[in-house]
Structure formats: C-alpha cells, structure tokens
C-alpha cells in the first residue's frame, strides 16, 4: 500500500503540473515543439495576467501616452494598423513596420534584422527607443513601484513586491507567449474539420510550389533571414541583417515573417510598403530586384496567371484566425486592474 501511496502522489503532482501548462499554452498537434525554454520561465496565470496589464499600460513610456498595444493592437493580430512605419511618443515616426506578434514561442530571434536574441529582452528595445516609448527601464520600475496596485500584482506573480527589471521582462514575455494563432480555416482543413474550395485548393498548391521554402507550414515561416528581392527604399537605407553582423553576405536580408493573419496585419514588409496582398503578389511576379544577396529560391521568375494570383490570395486568406483576433483573453484588460490608465 505504501508503495502505491507514493506512486499516487507522484501521479497527482504530475497531473496538476501538466494541466497548468495545458490550460495556458494550447497549440495543435501539427505544430512543432516551441523553441522558447519554458523551464526557465514556466507559465503561470498570475504572471501572464501581469504581463497583459503591462502590455496595455502607457506608463511604460516616458510621457505615459504610448503602450505596447499602441503599436501592437490585438484586432490587427498585434501589428500596427494602417501605419507603414511605427508611430511613437510625440508623434515620432520610426523606421520600420510593427510586425504581428503571434506564435512567438517558435521564434529564435526577433525584429526584422534579428537584433534581439530572446523574447524576454525584446521589450527593452521599444521601452528605451527614443522614437517609440523613450523611457528608461529603471524609471519604469520606479513608476511601477510607486503605483498603488503594481507592487501587489508583482507580489502575487513572483512572491516579491520589490519590482525588478527581470520580473517586468519575464511577465511581458509570458503574456506574449500565450499569443498563439492556430485556429484558421487552414488548421481546420488539416484536421479535416473544414474543406478548401477548389479555388483555395489551387492557391494552396501554388503556395507550396512557390512560397513554402521560406514561409514554411505550419508556422508559415522558417524565421530565417532572406533577401526577397525588394528594392532598397533610399529614404530609409535599411540593410536589414547587415546592420547587426556587418557581413556583406547579410546585406538586405530580413527575417521571413509569418503569413498567418495577413488579413488583419496590413500593411506589409519591413517598411510597410505594400497595402494590399495583390501588391505583394505583384512584387513576387514582376518586382523582384536582382542583387548579389537575392535568395536562390527567387532567382527564377515566378509566373502566375491573373486567375492563379486570385487563387493564391484566396489561399492566404484561409490563414486568418478570427478567434485569435477577437479572443477576450488578449484584449485590453478590465479597467480596474490597469493602474495608470487615464480615460480610456
């Protein structure tokens, strides 16, 4: 009996551990294993909730006007609606388009050029960027520490009401890790809960033929750095990955973005130069600029009939995940818990 008792205890411990992870990190069987190391920052409901409040709180910016959500709106798959270049404090304009924040647990590097090597430390970049939030992490922490509610929220999440940079960053990462989009028509089709129309089917085949090597299923990206033939915008002179490595072979390489939720995350590319998906397709068929670092996959011209272009777009739209965009767990948190919200 004694033996079984131990076994039972172990089993119960195992079950509860499993359920906790399960309830917050839900992803389908056709997804690979996440690359984020959850052992170092195990998901916890209270940390996620705290991260969500921080994500929506303009206190993180120097003049308390801009929150993460100002540029990453849930209704746009956490991209910046209508802005080709990001828009920060004092109406300043940045140099890049804010990407959609989805399935970040599967990503190794962050930003269009991979400047950031870990999701945990990503938030330091917008907080301190003079054209985004223009703040200092130490000052953010002072403001949080002085607020009537944050010390309690941090105590609940980390067992310590003394707020540290590490705890701010870990909770922001936790909330963002839960932003999993895996509930599109494409996903339903894979598990045979939905069927593609003939047009979508044809678009899918064209996608697999021309796009899948870089925008690989089921995440619709390899997250590798590639040159997809965009001509340089000489008002920005952004050389992408080269900015980080200073290697000639990295000139004009940008991180391949996911194609999930394109319907909500316009405009497109690192500088938001294209407003419509048809503009993007036109780029791939007619606009590829041949430079030294153009990816081999795009050396041969992609030829598509007008009908095929429409089919390809129809397929791309099967990657829209309405449940994700309208998921109340990702939206603006209830007012009572946002300590520094003015009049939202």
């Amino acid at each position: 009996m004694k033996k079984y008792g131990w076994f039972l205890i172990c089993f119960v411990v195992f079950l509860t551990a499993f359920r906790m992870l399960d309830s917050v990190l839900v992803f389908p069987k056709h997804f690979p294993k996440p690359v984020y190391d959850f052992k170092k920052n195990p998901l916890d409901e209270r940390k996620i909730a705290l991260g969500r409040v921080l994500f929506y709180d303009p206190l993180l910016s120097s003049d308390n006007t801009i929150s993460c959500a100002s540029c990453h709106s849930s209704y746009n798959s956490f991209a910046h609606v209508d802005h080709n270049l990001s828009h920060g404090i004092d109406d300043q304009i940045g140099t890049r388009n804010a990407p959609a924040l989805i399935n970040l647990a599967w990503q190794k590097t962050f930003m269009w050029d991979g400047a950031v090597n870990h999701l945990d430390v990503q938030a330091l970049a917008p907080i301190t960027h003079p054209k985004e939030m223009g703040e200092e992490l130490t000052h953010v922490i002072q403001k949080l520490q002085q607020s009537p509610t944050y010390p309690t929220l941090f105590y609940q999440a980390f067992g310590d009401s003394i707020i540290t940079g590490q705890h701010v960053l870990l909770s922001l990462a936790q909330f963002q890790l839960t932003l999993i989009s895996a509930n599109s028509k494409y996903d339903s089709m894979l598990v045979k809960k939905a069927a593609f129309t003939p047009q979508e089917k044809n678009g899918y085949a064209l996608f697999q033929q021309h796009c899948n090597t870089c925008h690989r299923e089921p995440l619709f990206s390899t997250y590798a750095f590639k040159n997809n033939g965009l001509p340089v915008d000489t008002t920005l002179n952004d050389f992408g990955r080269w900015n980080i490595t200073h290697q000639a072979s990295d000139s004009l390489l940008f991180k391949v973005p996911t194609l999930r939720n394109l319907e909500y995350s316009y405009p497109y590319m690192h500088d938001g130069r294209f407003k419509r998906l048809s503009d993007v397709i036109y780029h791939y068929t007619n606009g590829i600029q041949k430079t030294k670092t153009l990816s081999p996959e795009l050396q041969q011209p992609i030829k598509l009939t007008e009908r095929e272009k429409v089919d390809l777009v129809a397929f791309l739209l099967t990657l829209s995940d309405r449940n994700f965009v309208f998921n109340p767990a990702f939206a603006y948190p209830p007012k009572i818990v946002i300590p520094s919200a003015k009049d939202q």
Binding site: A115, H118, L119, H129, G165, H167, I244
Partner: protein
C-alpha cells in the same frame, strides 16, 4: 538502527569535514599609479596631460582557481558587477574548502555568449544595472567614461562601452594570473592611465556597439590586470 546512528554521526561531522574559508579579491583601479577617484582630475607629471574618469564598471564572471594547470575550484553562478561608484562591489568574496591549495586564478572580463542568449536574468545581470544594450541584445562587458585633456573630441570626453558576444566581435576576455602567495586576500590592480597611454584617443574615443575596436580595447584592458604582491 546502526545505520541510522552512523548517518547522524556523518551529518554531525559534515561541518568539520568541509570547513570553509573565505577568499577575497579586491579590485584597485589606478590612474598613473595613484588610486582612481571618480570625477577628480589627475595630472600626469610626465606628459602634463590631465585625466578624469567619470565611470568605470565591468563584469567579472566564471571565477576559477587552479593548482598548476588543474582546476580545483569553480565559483557557482559566478557573475559580479564591479563598479567604482559602489565601493562594496570592488570586493568579491567566495567560500572555498579550507584544505584547498591553489596558485592561479582565472576569470572572464565580461559575460559569455551562452548567458548573453539566456533571456531576462536577475541580480548582477538584471538589465536595470545599466550594462545591457537594448536595441541589440547583449551585455556591455565594460564601461569606461571620462575626460582627457589631449582627447580630440568636444569637451575632450571619451566613452567606451565595450561588449559583443557574436563572432567576429566577441569581446569577452579571459584573464589568468599566477598568484604571488596563497593568502586568501588579494588585490587586483588595473591602471587606466597606462591604458589611455597605450591607445590612441584620436582614433578611438567613442565606442557604443560591438566592433573590432571594441574587441581590441577589451583585450588591452584585460592584459593590464595584475595582482599586487
């Protein structure tokens, strides 16, 4: 029952078997052989050039003690931020076994690449310590900021934020020194005056990101640490 008694005896003897002693390493920054005091002007009688240091802070990590060439002690979670503005931080302490015999100390000047890619860390590595680059992930291994009369910049200021963990700009530097005598309290000096004499402030006076220059200057600084007899 007998095994139980033996076990208790063993437990009671643990403190005696593993008696610990403290090793203390104190860093002593100098300018032309005089103790470096932040924010004060040091005249160099030889060159008639004046130097003022406004900030000097660096990471010391992965402390190891060796007897000849074999490792006899490795500090756990060995990360220290040494900051001249915080006198306490100049003294590193760690416990070793009382019986330990060693004649060499090794440490890294800076933070290794694995740690650099480990996300948000706490304590000495918390990003609020002012030693983390935000726009491009990575720790700053060493900050040296100040004034030198001969520095050809506006207000004669120089500013070195040295770091970078990726090839080919990996700036972390190993420091390995034979110890004069095993005493358990050591003073490790570094003369910033010598460093400024060695480099050309006309060529390098403002480094804020990983580069070849950052690697070279880091190496020159690492070579200048020495233990006082």
């Amino acid at each position: 029952m007998r095994t139980f008694c033996l076990f208790i005896l063993y437990c009671m003897s643990i403190p005696y078997l593993n008696a610990q002693q403290n090793v203390r390493i104190s860093f002593l920054p100098l300018v032309h052989s005089k103790p470096l005091v932040l924010g004060t002007i040091n005249m160099d009688s030889l060159s008639h050039d004046s130097v003022r240091i406004d900030a000097f802070r660096f990471y010391v990590s992965n402390i190891v003690l060796l007897q000849d060439d074999s490792v006899v002690f490795r500090e756990n979670t060995s990360y220290h931020l040494v900051d001249l503005a915080d006198t306490n931080s100049l003294h590193l302490r760690f416990a070793v076994n009382e019986q330990l015999v060693y004649n060499t100390i090794q440490f890294q000047l800076g933070i290794d690449s694995l740690t650099n890619e480990s996300g948000a860390l706490g304590g000495a590595l918390d990003p609020t310590r002012g030693m983390y680059w935000a726009w491009q992930s990575g720790y700053i291994n060493l900050k040296l900021e100040g004034y030198r009369n001969s520095c050809p910049t506006r207000n004669h200021l120089f500013e070195f934020h040295l770091g970078g963990y990726r090839y080919p700009f990996n700036a972390i530097q190993p420091v390995s020194r034979k110890l004069p005598m095993q005493t358990n309290t050591y003073t490790c000096a570094i003369d910033i005056g010598t460093f400024l004499d060695q480099i050309s402030l006309a060529k390098n006076n403002h480094i804020m990101s990983p580069s070849h220059a950052a690697v070279n200057l880091s190496q020159q600084l690492a070579d200048l640490f020495y233990f006082l007899p």
